[in-house]
């Protein structure tokens, strides 16, 4: 079985811990640098008219180095050899593209988990869940909520 683990800052440990127990013969650690992060830094430079500034390649360099460190940490935590996939672009589309030959994608919820409901899954994760061409294992980054978080059933007016 080929599994892809989507490593994202903040929630990756839960994914790696869950994947450790899975019977995989091929594990891929995937991280995507959000192209918008690069544009957030470079766009501001472009806004400085007249300064003769070119785009700063160091931005991509710093992000790539951080990506490598994160994948190192994930591989060390997983404790077995993996294939690494370091991508950059639009995260949701890159993740789906990276799953074309996978049997299982492991990813974490990244939404507002304080209020359970549609928003407990963020838009990128939502897109990936909808479009991933394989099975998906969706995890809570922290222990799952208890039964008491379930809202009461909707009130139905009694028929006379």
């Amino acid at each position: 079985m080929k599994i892809v683990i989507w490593v994202t800052e903040g929630t990756w440990t839960a994914c790696v811990d869950a994947a450790r127990d899975l019977p995989a013969d091929h594990t891929v650690l995937l991280h995507v640098i959000d192209a918008d992060s690069i544009e957030a830094a470079e766009g501001a430079r472009a806004g400085l008219l007249g300064r003769g500034l070119a785009d700063n390649t160091a931005t991509t360099g710093t992000l790539t180095a951080a990506q490598a460190r994160l994948l190192d940490a994930a591989e060390a935590r997983l404790g077995r050899p993996t294939q690494r996939e370091a991508r950059h672009g639009r995260p949701e589309r890159e993740v789906v593209a990276a799953c074309t030959t996978a049997d299982l994608l492991v990813l974490a919820r990244d939404g507002d988990r304080g209020r359970l409901g549609p928003r407990s899954i963020g838009p990128h994760t939502r897109f990936v869940i909808d479009h991933a061409p394989c099975r998906v294992l969706l995890l809570w980054p922290e222990p799952p909520p208890g039964l008491e978080t379930m809202p009461p059933p909707p009130h139905r007016p009694r028929r006379a």
Partner: protein, 417 residues
């Protein structure tokens, strides 16, 4: 009519060149010939050119001194030290890091200008955020946005402020006293919106990736010089010393220990930091904009500028400035508008709120730059422009309203000379 067309064409050429930068040539390569053309065509008489250059000279000197000051502060490790400090203080929480970045970027912008935040602080914030393993996007956007919104406070904070400062007739201290309330208010508005818009990126607390670096020895000397320079701005002006001199003395104090070690290499770096082509660009652009301002286009804009400094007048001035800043970038917008409102310090400050906050709408400075970057990016992974436009559409109107409202209150509380 022909004159107007020539003036507008030259201005469009100068700005278009500055946006596209063919062969990476400096922007002055079009601005100076452009200025020569409008003078040769008789659009600006020679004595007015001399007057414009003389009026701009202290401002451009100030600009060069502040650029050098920020460069030297960076060389002394001030930004790197600030980065380790906020990294350690955030204790792995992206929300705490965002708060600290807001404070840091606002202060750096106010004291050392928006260029320092964009060019020198942003890479440090990126390294800090990735170092503690949080998603860096909100913090990068915060630097970009606060370089604009955080630049309301002092005349040194933004080149637009420098250009307007002399025309406003306000002293350094009174300028700051009038702008402190709008400055704090718009930063708060930005913070509230950032917390909502980036809620997802800010929820996950990261386990630390690398052990927290021992904070290096604080660069006390450089920090001390910066504090004294800041105090010097306020103290020197009442006795008739232009702040440009204070900035130059501050820069010299930071340069001496480095020059003593490596005289030649360091001197070269200082000249590069002063960015003389940029200074030449400001002179050239000043003359070209003057050619446009003295024709029917100037009359039209003059017609649009409100006459009174009531709340609505201030709001209209700020809106006009924000729209112009997004159409053509805020430097030409400032050069165009400030002489038209110079009779009223209140309106000058309202225009500054518009030209300083406005650029956050297109984020990359102007519509032209936005379109040009889209053209450049068609071949590679094009980053979505949706995200920063959405951020701009939410923050800019809110900041303009709150900024102008608090300016109006400040004008009543602090009063004009």
């Amino acid at each position: 009519m022909v004159n107007t067309a020539v003036g507008l064409l030259v201005l469009a050429g100068v700005l278009g060149f500055a946006v596209a930068r063919p062969r990476g040539l400096p922007e002055a390569a079009a601005a100076l010939p452009g200025a020569a053309v409008v003078v040769a065509a008789g659009l600006v008489p020679w004595h007015e050119v001399r007057a414009e250059v003389a009026a701009l000279a202290p401002t451009v000197g100030f600009l060069a001194a502040v650029l050098v000051l920020a460069h030297l502060a960076d060389e002394h490790g001030v930004f790197a030290y600030a980065g380790t400090l906020v990294g350690a203080a955030s204790r792995g929480s992206p929300q705490r890091l965002l708060r600290l970045v807001f404070v840091l970027a606002s202060v750096v912008t106010a004291v050392l200008s928006l260029d320092a935040t964009v060019v020198l602080l942003t890479p440090i914030v990126l390294a800090t955020a990735t170092g503690i393993g949080v998603r860096p996007k909100p913090h990068l956007y915060a630097c970009g946005h606060l370089a604009n919104t955080g630049s309301l406070l002092l005349p040194v904070s933004n080149l637009t402020n420098l250009l307007a400062f002399t025309a406003s007739g306000l002293g350094f201290t009174r300028f700051a006293a009038l702008m402190v309330l709008p400055w704090l208010a718009v930063i708060t508005v930005e913070y509230v919106i950032f917390r909502r818009m980036f809620a997802l990126d800010l929820t996950a607390t990261a386990p630390p990736l690398t052990p927290a670096r021992r904070s290096a020895h604080p660069p006390w000397y450089a920090i001390g010089v910066l504090v004294v320079t800041l105090a010097g701005f306020a103290l020197a002006e009442p006795v008739g010393v232009h702040p440009a001199w204070v900035a130059a003395v501050g820069a010299a104090a930071l340069a001496v220990p480095r020059l003593a070690r490596k005289p030649l290499g360091e001197a070269g770096r200082l000249v590069r930091a002063a960015n003389l082509p940029f200074c030449a660009f400001v002179f050239g652009l000043g003359v070209v904009v003057q050619a446009v301002r003295s024709g029917p286009v100037g009359d039209l804009v003059d017609h649009l500028v409100p006459g009174d400094t009531g709340l609505l007048g201030l709001l209209a001035a700020a809106l006009l400035a924000a729209v112009l800043a997004n159409l053509v970038n805020n430097l030409p917008a400032t050069l165009m508008l400030v002489p038209l409102v110079a009779h009223s310090p209140g309106l000058v400050l309202a225009v500054l709120i518009g030209v300083n906050i406005g650029p956050n709408l297109t984020y990359v400075g102007s519509l032209a730059t936005l379109l040009w970057r889209q053209v450049l990016h068609t071949r590679d992974h094009s980053p979505g422009i949706g995200e920063f436009l959405r951020l701009g559409i939410v923050t800019v109107p809110a900041c303009l309203l709150v900024g102008v409202g608090t300016l109006w209150a400040s004008l009543h509380l602090v009063g004009l000379p």
